[in-house]
């Protein structure tokens, strides 16, 4: 653009005495820019349109007039888009869009006059969408692993958050492997950077994920309020701990995560057990192991004792029975004993060879015999 020439509205620029279109728009632009410095304007948004390029086009109007506005991508990237009908303040530079011959405002700041501003509105809108899909349902919260083997951290590679997390895990649970997935946590690329980092982790064998960022302004934390990032967090196959911003700023990422930690250090503590406590737990386990073995061996000994008792009892029983039988048998034997018969007054006669003489034919006259009585023997002869 050329330097503004002194204004002479009646001096023709061309030889024919007429101005070219370009000359007029150039002059008009010079006049506007010289006469209207950048300024705050209040009005209502109308005809809002966000182009693929990221630039926003809309009108600002009140009851009687309207102004064409453009807000370029590099100015609006951190802002949630406003909606038609919204009352806003803009800080803008009035100018002339020469190609179209339009009076236009180039907006560099846009604030909502409504409660909490544009951020609040965008936050509530995204939150409502997430709620509708059940992603903020408390029942979705997963339990964190007790003894994580691999912990992934999504954060800025050179921020204090990573240093804090690393220090806490090194102290509490150095058994774990820490997988750092760097991401941009602010700026225009933060949203896709965070999503791609989460997406990478979802394909790794990781027990728990920490998404962390130190404190910052609402604009700085914008990416963590993006619906896209929130949905990426919700889609993670493993539990996610979110520690974004300060305790007072709750982001959508925090709401969707399985656990929200107040600070990156607190997130690292939540993700890990304390080594000292686990060692103590191991001690208890050792005691239980020893006690269990003693109990188990006592069971075995008791069982042995029991079988020994039964054995002894069995033998005793058998012996008792045998004893009784013996007594019975000896009584019967006793009853049958010939000595008992003799005692009753009977006598047995035997010949010299010891044969018992039972019949008269065996006892002819003159036959010698021996007679057995109860207390001894005598010799005799048949008369």
């Amino acid at each position: 653009m050329g330097s503004p020439t002194p204004l002479d509205l009646f001096a023709a620029a061309s030889a024919e005495g007429a101005w070219t279109v370009g000359e007029v728009t150039r002059r008009a632009r010079a006049v506007i820019e010289a006469g209207l410095p950048p300024l705050w304007i209040r009005g209502e948004i109308a005809g809002f349109k966000a182009w693929r390029s990221g630039h926003w086009y809309f009108s600002l109007r009140d009851k009687s007039a309207q102004l064409r506005c453009v807000m370029f991508a590099k100015q609006n990237f951190r802002l949630p888009a406003p909606a038609d009908g919204m009352q806003v303040f803009v800080f803008a530079r009035p100018s002339m869009y020469e190609e179209k011959g339009e009076f236009q405002l180039t907006v560099t700041e846009l604030l909502s006059t409504e409660q909490g501003g544009l951020w609040k509105l965008a936050f509530e809108k995204a939150k409502a969408a997430l709620t509708k899909d059940g992603l903020l349902d408390p029942g979705r919260k997963r339990r964190l692993p007790l003894f994580p083997n691999r912990i992934a951290v999504v954060t800025s590679p050179d921020g204090a958050a990573l240093r804090d997390i690393q220090a806490v895990i090194a102290r509490r649970w150095p058994i774990a492997e820490l997988i750092v997935v760097p991401a941009q946590v602010q700026g225009a690329k933060a949203e896709s950077s965070l999503c791609s980092a989460l997406n990478r982790i979802s394909r790794l064998l990781v027990d728990v994920v920490v998404v962390a960022r130190g404190g910052g302004s609402v604009e700085d934390l914008w990416a963590f309020n993006s619906e896209r990032v929130a949905r990426a967090v919700a889609a993670m196959p493993m539990p996610v701990i979110s520690a974004v911003g300060h305790e007072t700023d709750v982001t959508l990422c925090d709401l969707v995560a399985d656990l929200r930690a107040a600070t990156p250090s607190a997130a690292a503590e939540a993700a890990t057990p304390d080594r000292a406590e686990v060692l103590a737990q191991c001690g208890v386990m050792g005691q239980r192991l020893g006690r269990a073995l003693r109990i188990a061996s006592r069971h075995v000994v008791e069982r042995l004792d029991r079988s020994g008792d039964r054995l002894v009892r069995g033998i005793e029983h058998r012996l008792e029975r045998s004893g009784a039988l013996l007594t019975a048998h000896s009584a019967r034997l006793d009853a049958l004993s010939p000595l008992r018969v003799l005692a009753r007054g009977y006598a047995v006669a035997r010949d010299e060879e010891g044969r018992i003489l039972k019949r008269v034919a065996q006892l002819r006259s003159g036959k010698e015999f021996r007679l057995r009585v109860t207390d001894g023997e005598v010799n005799g002869r048949v008369q």
Partner: protein, 63 residues
Amino acid sequence: MAEFNKQLERLEAIVRRLESEELDLDEALKLFEEGVERLRAAREQLAQAELKVKKVLEIESPR
């Protein structure tokens, strides 16, 4: 080295089995020995560990 949680889970299972079941002395001893070994390994892991940090390079997601 076995993952720590697996080590501890197995140890828990051993202790519970020893505590709750009537086992042969032989079996009980075998479990006890395994338990002691797992406990030793777990303690060693706890004592010797040093945090390993791995950085995964950032890859821009294609849009």
